[in-house]
Subunit: 149 residues, 2 copies
DNA sequence: TTGACTTGGTACGATTTCGCACTAGATTGT
DNA sequence: ACAATCTAGTGCGAAATCGTACCAAGTCAA
């Protein structure tokens, strides 16, 4: 691969990294102190996708090591936002459930983020989001598959 | 803002976060043990943009707190990949220079990443990169400007 | 059934990342 | 000139993240 295309891929990943950083700051500025995007994302995922997933499931969804997920879940459970129950089907594993408090927390967080999104939407319209999302999702799928192999 | 558009923005940031995670893993698998993307990125930036930047400059470029950059630079300097000199124009600040070893390290890293990029390019062509890059850059600019205000 | 192997989860320690508080040097207004 | 303010950088402590090693439960094959 010649230098020029390689550079384009580097630039893409660089841009993605900085955007992840920027969105992280934006989100965390609105979350209560001590709450991080990692916590919010798990709660959001439990509602969006479904309750009752295993920790390993969640780790894979977010592409983080399972030890990281153990730690994140412990924090969420200590805060009463989730609860874990043993999985009767497989005694090695747990299942994670969001609590009433967890649901409320997630909804409040979303509400307090909306002003930021609205401001953002003025300069980066929904149509642009829809323009890039499929391509990014495709990239994710490719990288995901490659990683698994 | 109704729920539906809000969800699209959430999905976008979720996708960006996971992609950042995936590219991080991909890069770090090729870097020597102990070397992280944060280190590589700084070296790359010093070559791409220019030597002789101040730590604060770099922190802003990567959107990380300045204490984080202090730590990253200390690690790089301990490894002999950069050196810092006092800035005669402003005695509060330093300037960061990449060393010969640093340059070599960065070039080696890029070479060892190329196979991954080539494999990626088979399924996610350069044209797709070029399709999303301008939009992502625009999003970055908008968020950057918003943050500064 | 039993031994080899795989899978889900955690304990532990190292490192990164980050917020807060502080110092030294620069800048601004009067 | 000089006090108030701002800026660059670091020290320190807390938390997140992650790799390694480990244990318990499940699977598979002979």
């Amino acid at each position: 691969m010649p230098d020029e295309p390689a550079r384009a891929y580097f630039t893409l990943f660089n841009e993605i990294g900085i955007l992840a950083q920027l969105s992280r700051s934006m989100f965390e500025a609105r979350l209560p102190p001590g709450m991080l995007v990692s916590h919010f994302s798990v709660l959001n995922h439990l509602i969006r996708v479904q309750d009752g997933r295993t920790p390993l499931d969640l780790a894979r969804s977010f592409q983080v090591p399972k030890t990281t997920m153990t730690h994140t879940l412990a924090t969420l459970e200590a805060a009463g936002l989730i609860e874990t129950r043993l999985n009767p089907d497989d005694k090695r594993s747990k299942r994670v459930w969001i609590t009433v408090d967890g649901r409320a927390f997630r909804n409040t967080a979303i509400d307090s983020l909306k002003p930021d999104l609205e401001r953002l939407a003025e300069r980066f319209p929904l149509s642009s989001v829809e323009a890039v999302l499929p391509t990014l999702a495709a990239l994710r799928q490719v990288m995901d598959a490659d990683r698994a192999s």
